[in-house]
């Protein structure tokens, strides 16, 4: 296993990225993304460790990159909107294309948290070469009108929200019901998710106490599950960690568990894709793993 840091051109900017290369021909690639504010290696090497283990234990190459205006990439980023995941997904499309060219593979799995998690599921929705996605702590419930976006921003910055936010009971019984009134999943979310399940395995992970989690997300995903064939149903999973706050991955145990989830889901996606004759073959199927 070895690593190669690179600068990938994207428009007028350069995205700092690292390609992790297995010793033998890679089976495919994982695209590892962060939320805004974390470097591409993620806090305390979470993605670095995941990338090294994917290469050494699963023969899967990977690429992780800093967003424009973050980490070691060029550019400036001072503020962003609620639909940032959809607005910046082009950056990671450039990164995925570059990584697959370097590794000589034609399919990948996308994983990320927060904004990166949104991009991961967007990749699965948009690209048939994306055979799986993992979205940790992804804000799927977004303000559903211009007027409500402003009201929501004011509410979040209010003294009342600050006080309520420090109490688990108030968060659940005051903040969440108010948020429910002003937010919804993006338009066509259900339709696009159904489309993704034709060629990809999709995983969402939340801590029950995370602000990004909302029982309505569970209801939407159950609605998709009910509307797709049984085999596609198996390719969609929502994991809710009871009583947990996963934001920031602020414990050694949460970090380790997240890495294991990424390794397991990535392996599952490649095994499934390698067994399917209707998906384009990658350069080196699983049988060659030694």
């Amino acid at each position: 296993m070895r690593e190669a840091p690179v600068f990938i051109p994207h428009g007028s900017e350069h995205l700092a990225a690292t390609v992790t290369i297995p010793d033998d021909a890679p089976r495919g690639m994982a695209l590892l993304m962060t939320g805004f504010g974390a470097p591409r290696s993620h806090r305390f090497q979470m993605w670095t460790t995941a990338a090294r283990r994917l290469a050494a234990e699963h023969r899967i190459g990977s690429i992780g990159a800093d967003w424009v205006g973050m980490g070691e990439s060029t550019g400036l980023l001072e503020r962003w909107g609620w639909r940032a995941s959809w607005e910046v997904s082009g950056q990671m499309a450039s990164v995925a294309t570059f990584g697959m060219r370097v590794l000589g593979v034609d399919r990948f799995v996308a994983a990320g948290n927060c904004v990166g998690g949104g991009v991961a599921v967007a990749m699965a929705m948009d690209r048939e070469d994306c055979i799986g996605s993992m979205s940790f702590l992804t804000h799927l419930m977004l303000p559903n009108s211009e007027r409500r976006t402003g009201a929501y921003a004011r509410m979040r910055k209010s003294k009342l929200a600050e006080i309520a936010g420090s109490s688990r009971v108030l968060r659940k019984h005051v903040i969440r019901p108010i948020r429910n009134q002003v937010t919804s999943t993006p338009p066509d979310f259900v339709g696009n998710l159904r489309k993704a399940l034709r060629h990809a395995q999709v995983l969402f992970v939340y801590g029950e106490e995370d602000p990004s989690f909302n029982p309505r997300i569970q209801a939407e995903i159950e609605r998709v599950e009910a509307s797709v064939p049984p085999d596609a149903r198996d390719r969609l999973k929502l994991q809710i960690l009871e009583g947990e706050h996963l934001g920031g991955f602020e414990s050694v145990e949460q970090r380790a568990r997240t890495i294991e989830t990424v390794l397991d889901w990535t392996e599952r996606c490649f095994q499934w894709a390698e067994a399917r004759s209707d998906l384009a073959p990658s350069s080196a199927p699983a049988e060659q793993v030694t």
Partner: protein, 305 residues
């Protein structure tokens, strides 16, 4: 094997024609293991002094990383070669997080100074460090041939610094950000009994704790006589008595030290992400902070510009 090596090699560096600077990824051995470093240089003639950035400790390395990149680029645009690196246990270094200690930070920085001399084409080397990175920079400058020192709100008293990290972790638990967050007493007990504790996702070893807790720049820097700049970043815009004392100490050793206050209330070394205003999800005040830090740093590094 179908790895496109030429594609990798051709993207290891780039040149920005607008700013006439270039950046190159290196894969050097620092602190005994391989790691990632970035060398930034002017395309045209360089100044004779190069700067090496020493990053901070733990989660502060993440929170201050972007600020360091931005000011490093500003220094490169002003003609200085600049080297940044991922210390062992951080980023894409070969070292693992539990190996991080004060000793590892010092070894990384000392090797980075040698790397700058080899690769930067410079006659002199200066060190730049924020918070605990400033502590590391000052200690390495004291033990090596470093001419210039830039310290942004450096940690003078390591014991106070490490206790502050414990306090932050415990408060995160009280605020409900972490499930059953440990108390300071429990974290210190774990250090004694298990040899490590979980500092918000970072496994902090007892060795790291003890080394850091034992540092005090006023007593431990004893030889440095070069030029230095200390930025004291405070909400009031007044320099702290602790940094005034450090500046006085450096002058007492025979060096030339400038102490400059910088007003900022966003928390230096903390996350700069904030809830956004209308129509925005979040904002990042790092750019604003970089402007405040960059200006006195550049003026000091290149008088007359």
């Amino acid at each position: 094997m179908s790895i496109d090596e030429s594609l990798l090699e051709s993207h290891r560096s780039f040149v920005d024609q607008e700013t006439r600077t270039g950046e190159e990824f290196l894969w050097p051995t620092l602190g005994g293991k391989r790691t990632v470093a970035v060398l930034m240089r002017p395309v045209d003639a360089s100044r004779p002094t190069g700067f090496v950035f020493c990053h901070s400790f733990g989660i502060e390395q993440v929170h201050l990383g972007r600020l360091e990149v931005m000011v490093a680029r500003a220094l490169a645009r002003a003609g200085f070669p600049v080297l940044r690196y991922h210390g062992q246990g951080y980023g894409e270094s070969e070292g693992d997080v539990p190996e991080i200690t004060l000793s590892s930070h010092l070894a990384d920085a000392a090797d980075a100074v040698s790397l700058m001399r080899e690769r930067g084409g410079v006659e002199k080397v200066g060190l730049v460090g924020a918070r605990f990175g400033g502590t590391v920079a000052a200690l390495v400058a004291d033990r090596s041939e470093v001419d210039q020192l830039v310290l942004w709100d450096p940690v003078v008293d390591g014991g106070r610094f490490i206790n502050g990290l414990f306090r932050q972790r415990a408060l995160a638990g009280i605020a409900g950000r972490s499930k059953n967050g440990p108390s300071i007493k429990e974290m210190k007990l774990a250090l004694q009994t298990d040899g490590w504790t979980d500092l918000g996702g970072m496994p902090l070893s007892r060795t790291a704790h003890d080394e850091i807790a034992g540092v005090n720049l006023v007593s431990d820097v004893v030889r440095f006589r070069g030029r230095s700049l200390i930025l004291s970043v405070t909400p009031s815009g007044q320099a702290t008595p602790e940094l005034a004392q450090l500046a006085e100490h450096l002058r007492g050793l025979g060096g030339e030290c400038t102490l400059s206050p910088v007003q900022d209330s966003g928390g230096f070394g903390r996350s700069r992400l904030q809830d956004g205003d209308e129509g925005e999800a979040k904002s990042d005040t790092t750019v604003e902070l970089a402007r405040k830090v960059q200006s006195p740093t550049l003026s000091w590094a290149s008088p007359g510009i």
